[in-house]
């Protein structure tokens, strides 16, 4: 029997809320799955859809995007702008065959260390069930050989 599948998950988070929430999970010594890699941005408004595509290209089986709850944005409106983009980009990915189950969005405040830990656990389990993103990885593999017309 081969080793169990360990999903690779990339998280894009804002520094003021979710990153701080992740820190709180740490200082509270909450335990969660070690499958997530965090990329810190100043604000969810800075999170470009391109980041999600690049995370997938790096072999992520799932992507998590998270920031301050509406009304709590350090920059007042960054998360509202982000929310619209997410909604549109999520629909676009869905339509082109990237399941919304692989690209997850959440609001996690600086006080929600346990929400962060719980979410990482549940997302990791969900993606483990979905299995590796073979279809995408096939595309990545293809790029290693010369292009054909």
């Amino acid at each position: 029997m081969s080793e169990p599948f360990e999903p690779k998950i990339v998280a894009f988070v804002c520094t003021y809320c979710t990153y701080a929430g992740a820190d709180l999970a740490g200082t509270s010594r909450l335990k969660y799955a070690p499958n997530v890699r965090i990329v810190r941005l100043p604000c969810t408004g800075r999170i470009s859809p391109m980041f999600i595509l690049k995370a997938l290209q790096k072999g992520a089986d799932g992507v998590l995007v998270s920031g301050c709850h509406p009304g709590d944005c350090h920059f007042t409106h960054g998360n509202y702008h982000a929310r619209r983009r997410w909604m549109v980009f999520r629909a676009l990915l869905d339509f082109t065959g990237i399941s919304p189950e692989r690209v997850i969005f959440s609001w996690i405040s600086a006080a929600e260390g346990s929400k962060f830990a719980d979410l990482i656990n549940s997302v990791t389990e969900d993606i483990r069930k979905l299995g590796p993103f073979d279809q995408y990885q096939q595309l990545i593999k293809e790029t290693e050989s010369p292009a054909t017309l």
Binding site: V10, T15, Y19, A20, A22, D23, A25, G26, T27, R29, L30, K31, Y32, P34, R37, I38, V39, R40, L41, P42, C43, G45, R46, I47, S48, P49, F51, K54, A55, K58, H74, F75, T76, H77, G78, H81, A82, R85, A117
Partner: protein, 656 residues
């Protein structure tokens, strides 16, 4: 060539117990571009920092990654160490392998693998870091306070007393605002005039305060530390240098029946007038709309009466341009027009009045010299009904929020009435008694227990006149019965709402407002006196309904913010700001719309002959706060965010 130093901290056992630091250091040493990869027990300690500095110097490192605790802990520490070692502090990145790795994972191998990913991605990021310099913005040490009510006065005096220059702009002919209209103030019942007028005089005489009354803000440009403000001085038709405030013109003015704004329509004034006897400055203005001369070119009685020749009918509005470093907005509130409650008969029955009108009746300097008399016949009312929440907390007809002050002033009104009319009866219809505050609940209890105010918990549904009485029909929800009270006077606790032009004014200064028109603070909890625009602060009821103690506290807080800003000649800011590539910018202005700080301007690009070639976005470094919302909007990828550039993030993700 990149020469990156990787410093892996054990944090005692905190990291080393889970992450195999030796293995990690060895692995990172193999990574392309890494010159030094070392581990140590506590890099944040003095010897730890020294070893980092030494490594930077000895290896001419081009960037460092500290793999340790969260950047929120020690980023500043290590940036400082970099600077001391001669490396630009922004060439330092922190890999968070404690809070987000060793503390949260149980499996050592997995934690080590994760730590390696984290450090590697930060190495890839730091390779693309740019040398950044803190942004220095010069600060003009002159504050503008807009509004001469209690909040504005407090802010102006605090700033001026600290030795800084203040320009105070007041729209009305006199300082004072709403507080000057009040009789006694809760919860101490001290006379409003007695505590207010000395402040007004002090402000007017303060050597550091330039007072501009009967003036309005025309435009505000610029940014924190460097605002350019244009003030319109409305024509007073009275030369303030010549006038001594003797008042002869006022006594002679033939137009005497104008309803006084200051007395809320309960008193009369002349066409040349001061709003009230204690006005500061105590110099009249001519109300152009009511003046006979301005209507038909004849009269000039006031001019003839003035021995000092101070009256000048030719006077025009003038403009004053000011250089300002910080702005305190203290524009106050207005009382909601209660005519929207047809069932209360405001405007229909003269003896249905607002709380503010009651203040004027109770004021010793008011139209009745402090006697509570009915506006209809001048008789002393024997029974007064107060209706609380006449507009507040009423989503269907009024406003959704609580106006905060009404419970207290209604209790105060009941007391004042009881003190002045000893055998008078009061009924107060209320929804809840909200008396949180120092001495507040004691105060309302006093109104009930000592001054025998009768509180009826319920709403009033109808009000009509019968046999010379105002019949107030309501419900007592505690008894579960309808009640009808025959009153001689009804006082409505009307809602506090934003000034009528609050939204347009917010646009003039470039600050945000909520659905009602109250000005938005930068953060409700942590930055309650700052607006979303750097350098613009909020004091008093323009931000939300407030009583005097809250307004004063907030005003003093704005003063401390202003003084902190003025404590240095230059303002230093983190260089995390957006920059635009003008060559590729398509000028679609989506970024202008997306920016929460109005920091993006349109910049003209001209050719050598001065002809406009195109317009591109320009990010004002004084205003940009570095959220990056514009960057991810920009379709042509022209905008970028220093410190979190597209290249850096790309490399960071690709390094995972």
């Amino acid at each position: 060539m990149a020469k990156i130093g990787v410093f892996i901290c054990h944090c005692g056992e905190n990291i080393a117990a889970k992450v195999d630091c030796t293995k990690l250091a060895a692995a990172m040493g193999e990574h392309p571009g890494v010159e030094v990869s070392v581990e140590y027990k506590y890099f944040c300690s003095d010897p730890g920092q020294e070893s980092v500095k030494k490594a930077i110097r000895e290896n001419n490192l081009t960037g460092i990654v500290i793999a340790a605790c969260s950047p929120r802990m020690h980023e500043a520490t290590f940036r400082k160490a970099c600077a001391e070692a001669g490396l630009n502090p922004y060439l330092c990145e922190i890999a968070n392998i404690r809070e987000q790795c060793s503390w949260v994972h149980t499996d050592g191998d997995m934690a080590t693998a994760k730590a390696a990913d984290i450090v590697r991605s930060m190495v890839e990021k730091v390779k693309r870091n740019n040398i950044l310099q803190p942004i220095e913005v010069p600060v003009t040490r002159r504050a503008l306070v807009i509004g001469g009510g209690i909040a504005g006065l407090q802010a102006a005096l605090d700033i001026a007393n600290a030795g800084q220059e203040v320009v105070l702009v007041e729209r009305e002919p006199s300082l004072g605002g709403h507080m000057a209209q009040l009789s006694e103030t809760f919860p101490t019942l001290d006379c409003s005039q007695c505590i207010m007028t000395p402040r007004m005089v002090e402000t007017a005489q303060h050597p550091n305060i330039r007072l501009l009354t009967y003036a309005e803000i025309e435009s505000v440009d610029g940014y924190i530390g460097n605002f350019k403000v244009r003030v319109r001085m409305k024509a007073r038709y009275v030369d303030m240098n010549a006038c001594t405030g003797c008042g002869d013109c006022i006594t002679k003015c033939p137009v005497k029946k104008i309803s006084s704004e200051f007395d809320c329509g309960l008193g009369k004034r002349t066409a040349i007038y001061t709003p009230f006897a204690q006005s500061v400055p105590n110099m009249p203005v001519i109300d152009k709309a009511s003046c006979i001369y301005f209507k038909n070119g004849k009269c000039k009685t006031c001019q003839k009466s003035c021995e000092l020749n101070a009256i000048n009918f030719e006077m025009q509005d003038e403009f004053i341009d000011l250089e300002i470093g910080a702005i305190v907005v203290a524009t106050g509130f207005q009382v909601q027009n209660t005519a929207l409650y047809g069932e209360y008969g405001y405007g229909k029955f003269p003896d249905v009045i607002t709380g503010l009108q009651f203040e004027r009746l109770a004021s010793a300097s008011g139209p009745t010299a402090g006697r509570i008399l009915r506006p209809s016949d001048g008789k002393e009312p024997e029974n007064v009904v107060f209706i609380q929440c006449a507009g507040s907390r009423d989503p269907s007809k009024g406003v959704r929020y609580c106006s905060k002050i009404c419970c207290m002033y209604t209790a105060k009104h009941a007391m004042l009435y009881a003190h002045k009319v000893h055998d008078g009866k009061t009924h107060i219809f209320y929804m809840d008694i909200r008396a949180a505050g120092k001495g507040y609940d004691e105060f309302t209890r006093r109104a009930i227990e000592e001054d025998e105010a009768s509180y009826v918990r319920g709403r009033v549904s109808k009000l009509w006149q019968e046999n010379g009485k105002l019949m107030v029909r309501g419900v007592d929800t505690l008894l579960g019965k309808p009640v009808t009270v025959a009153a001689d006077m009804v006082v409505l606790a009307t809602a506090m709402v934003p000034q009528p032009n609050a939204k347009e004014f917010a646009k003039t200064i470039g600050i945000a407002y909520d659905e009602y028109g109250f000005y938005n603070e930068a953060h409700l909890k942590l930055r309650p006196v700052e607006s979303s625009t750097a350098g613009v602060f909020l004091a008093g009821a323009c931000q939300s309904p407030k009583d005097i103690p809250d307004s004063v506290a907030q005003a003093s807080a704005t003063a401390s913010k202003v003084l902190a800003l003025f404590s240095k000649e230059k303002l230093e800011r983190e260089p995390v700001i957006a920059v635009n590539n003008e060559a590729t910018c398509a000028g679609c202005w989506g970024c202008v719309l997306a920016c929460p700080y109005n920091a993006i301007e349109k910049k003209d690009i001209r050719d050598r002959s001065g002809k406009l070639v195109k317009q591109v976005a320009y990010v004002n470094p004084g205003l940009c706060q570095g959220c990056g919302t514009c960057v991810s909007f920009c379709r042509s990828n022209s905008l970028d965010l220093a410190g979190f550039t597209e290249k850096q993030i790309f490399a960071e993700v690709m390094g995972l």
